[in-house]
């Protein structure tokens, strides 16, 4: 789950900022594939956040429904999407790197859902359309991250993910702006919002199809893979991470489902998944952070919607510089440092400091936490996951992290209810400290990032 879980509106200025860190850094350019994928994500996020931003309004003001019923459906789909992500990861690895086509199917599915929103007028069909949309998102995420990872060298991976996440967030910030401009120019123009969203999504799919290379491996490798994938103990013959040198020999074991699962038997993968899980368990969801911040400061309600924007803007600005930093000091180290920033957020929320700078500092750190962990985790995981299982491996780590955060949300809500917000946050801070320490203890044996 990226930060932009709940953003409401945006300003163009922050979106422009997305591109700026990259400009003037030509020598540090990322692979064209990464730029192409970043463009696809940017365009797709404009499309999907357009719909997201107007959906509650459409339900209440346009259709006269109450979104509470919809919120109920929502939880069901979120669990489903985690499973779909694993499936997408596995499918992309099968047959030797179908990443582009699985991702493309995911993007296409989401695009096809937009016009269907025009036909759905009650909660069940709308819920089904959004479920299909989310299935598309679940399917495409892991193959896309695998493509980014496979098309960059270990030494530039942090930067590559940073550029991608910044472009992604820029799109997410632009989406609501476009939607509200359309609503202003029209009368109840929800149909126009959905139609434009569809057109934008199609452009995203086209950019993917036309400008993202189809296969990161050779045909020969793919054929070998097909030939041996039918039987045998799968990937159990392989153990340990590939040499950090990347692009190992093309004759690799078949990426069967069992091979994907046996990834967990790989110490390095297990370790990073464990880290992601542990730290995820102490990652209080954005909604709670904003709520706590609002309570601490008495932020007026009408500004509440701007808090997620602050985090997103910080994420946007910091994603590239922190990605570059990850390449320099090692992505695992930065991943941990990011959680240090989160710990600082907790500490500030618990502290007695009441300065006017508090919300800015908290949101900056919170965005920094995402910039230092979101793409960086994928970069770190890429070091341990063999190339032919890259997509499955990344999906595994992402799903583990998402589930851990989900458990954390449930637990935090319960703790808040039972003991109050401060105690709940203190417990989270302690858990996070323990998590960071355990992660530190696990690290020495793991292969440290690139030189």
């Amino acid at each position: 789950m990226y930060v932009a879980d709940s953003r409401a509106g945006t300003r163009a200025a922050s979106a422009e900022g997305a591109v700026r860190p990259r400009a003037g850094r030509r020598r540090a350019a990322v692979a064209p594939t990464v730029l192409a994928l970043g463009t696809v994500s940017l365009i797709t996020d404009v499309s999907s956040e357009m719909v997201t931003a107007v959906l509650p309004l459409y339900l209440v003001a346009g259709l006269g429904l109450s979104p509470l019923g919809f919120g109920l459906l929502d939880g069901v789909y979120n669990g489903f999407s985690a499973l779909v992500r694993l499936l997408g990861g596995h499918l992309a690895d099968r047959g030797g790197g179908r990443h582009k086509w699985v991702a493309g199917f995911g993007y296409g599915l989401s695009a096809a859902c937009k016009p269907l929103l025009l036909l759905a007028h009650s909660l069940t069909p709308i819920g089904l359309v959004l479920a299909a949309d989310r299935t598309g998102k679940g399917l495409r995420t892991a193959p896309r991250d695998a493509l980014i990872s496979l098309s960059s060298t270990p030494a530039t991976r942090g930067r590559a993910f940073g550029v991608h996440r910044a472009m992604d967030t820029a799109g997410a910030l632009l989406g609501p702006l476009v939607a509200f401009l359309i609503l202003r120019a029209t009368v109840d123009g929800y149909d126009a919002v959905f139609t434009v969203s569809f057109c934008v999504a199609v452009v995203g799919v086209l950019v993917l199809v036309l400008f993202v290379p189809g296969d990161t491996r050779t045909k020969a490798a793919a054929q070998t893979t097909e030939a041996t994938s039918s039987t045998g103990p799968g990937g159990s013959t392989r153990s340990g991470p590939p040499p950090a040198g990347e692009r190992p020999a093309r004759t690799t074991p078949p990426p069967t489902l069992r091979a994907a699962l046996s990834l967990l038997a790989t110490p390095a993968v297990r370790r990073i998944t464990l880290c992601a899980l542990l730290l995820g368990l102490a990652t209080v969801s954005d909604a709670f952070v904003f709520l706590l911040l609002q309570r601490r400061l008495g932020v007026p309600d009408r500004w509440f919607a701007l808090l997620p924007l602050g985090t997103a803007a910080a994420f946007l600005l910091l994603a590239v510089p922190l990605g570059r930093l990850a390449d320099r000091i090692g992505s695992r180290r930065l991943f941990l440092a990011g959680h240090g920033a989160l710990l600082l957020v907790y500490a500030l929320l618990l502290s007695a400091w009441h300065g006017t700078a508090l919300p800015y500092v908290v949101l900056l750190l919170h965005g920094g936490f995402y910039a230092a962990t979101d793409g960086v985790l994928m970069a770190a995981a890429s070091e341990s996951v063999p190339e032919e299982l890259r997509s499955s491996g990344l999906a595994l780590v992402q799903t583990g992290q998402a589930l851990a955060r989900f458990v954390c949300s449930l637990g935090f809500g319960a703790a808040w209810t039972a003991w109050g917000d401060r105690t709940a946050l203190t417990v989270s801070a302690v858990l996070l400290t323990v998590g960071v320490l355990v992660a530190l203890a696990l690290r020495p044996t793991a292969s440290e990032g690139p030189a």
Binding site: R11, T52, V60, L65, S66, L73, K137, F304, T417
Partner: protein
């Protein structure tokens, strides 16, 4: 494919898609014109004075196409599908009682819509305005006209994120004092003070004493009917599985939507009436799922909205479980049966005691 071919494909696709997108926006903005024209066979609407103190009128948000779309509109209560008189006041949701109205409006900002609640006097002049933190959904006024309440959906502006939460606000129009959220009140559940982070309130309805009210409380995935006390600032749970209560004029029963097992998840509600003394529930004879806070036309009749061709239509059904639902008005939502302000008038407005100009 060469780069040139690919660029060519992309550019031609962009031209086509830009055309489609532009056409859809133009189509939607041209709708302003179409929606400014009444649909043949639709209700007859003329502009005119609308007053909140005129006995025997029903006032609602008119959703029929034409120049008076979304305006507060009045019809004879005895002939709700009859000719409509439209004020110039536009509201998303509306309610009125005792000569006071509440109108929840959207304001088009440069980037995003914001919302406000406007308190109206009996001639629909704004007397106070309050920011509403999210998309407004329910509105009520106490029978005396003194207290005004509304519910808004806050946050949850992402379908990839968390659920929606609600805030129910109460205003004392006499003092202007605003309680932005009922969460400031003490909740008593099963005899004990209940603390929970996930508490949400919506659908407030007032009793005639200007002290008691009822509302929905949601916590831990369950909804409850709560009785509130404006003076003691407490809320006491009474009965589970109650949403959007609506108190009968005699104060003895509450009509509400209840989640019924076996119904689709998205349309799980049936209208019920709860006797507050015996806590006995009676289903009303409306087979469809109703997502609205019903209005009592009198002590025996409920009125509520269901989705219709132009947004919503109004239906009526007896409150005792007998009879059949009947559509009384098309393209209408947020009805209020207005009555003059009660005799004990320390509070305004004096002009509404008799018949207002019509």
């Amino acid at each position: 494919m060469t780069l040139r071919t690919r660029l060519l494909v992309l550019v031609s696709a962009l031209v086509v898609l830009a055309g489609v997108g532009t056409a859809s926006v133009l189509h939607a903005s041209a709708r302003a014109d179409r929606r400014d024209h009444a649909v043949p066979g639709g209700p007859q609407i003329t502009a005119g004075p609308v007053a909140l103190g005129t006995r025997g009128r029903m006032i609602f948000r008119n959703m029929a196409w034409g120049p008076h779309r979304d305006e507060l509109t009045s019809v004879p209560a005895s002939d709700p599908s009859g000719p409509r008189t439209a004020s110039k006041v536009k509201c998303l949701r509306f309610y009125a009682a005792g000569g006071t109205g509440v109108c929840l409006q959207s304001l088009h900002g440069p980037v995003q819509d914001t919302y406000r609640a406007v308190v109206l006097d009996s001639r629909l002049h704004a007397t106070a305005r309050y920011d509403v933190p999210g998309i407004p959904s329910r509105a009520r006024v106490s029978p005396s006209g003194r207290y005004v309440t509304w519910t808004a959906f806050v946050g949850g502006d992402s379908y990839a994120g968390t659920n929606f939460s609600t805030r129910a606000a109460v205003v004392d129009t006499r003092t202007g004092r605003l309680t932005p959220s009922l969460e400031a009140f003490r909740v008593v559940k099963d005899g004990r003070t209940h603390h929970a982070a996930d508490v949400n309130f919506w659908g407030v309805t007032f009793a005639a004493d200007d002290r008691t009210f009822y509302a929905t409380l949601a916590t831990h995935g369950t909804t409850y009917l709560v009785r509130g006390d404006l003076r003691a600032r407490t809320l006491t749970t009474l009965h589970p599985n109650v949403e959007c209560p609506s108190l009968s004029p005699d104060g003895t029963r509450v009509a509400y939507k209840k989640r019924v097992k076996g119904l689709p998840k998205d349309a799980p509600w049936h209208l019920y009436v709860l006797d507050l003394r015996t806590l006995r529930e009676t289903p009303v004879a409306e087979p469809r799922s109703v997502d609205d806070q019903a209005v009592w036309r009198d002590d025996h009749t409920l009125v509520y909205a269901l989705p219709g061709d132009y947004g919503a239509d109004l239906y009526t059904v007896p409150s005792d479980g007998t009879g059949q639902p009947r559509r009384i008005s098309t393209a209408a939502v947020s009805p209020a049966y207005v009555t003059p302000s009660p005799a004990r008038t320390r509070n305004p407005p004096p002009t509404t005691a008799g018949r207002s100009p019509r």
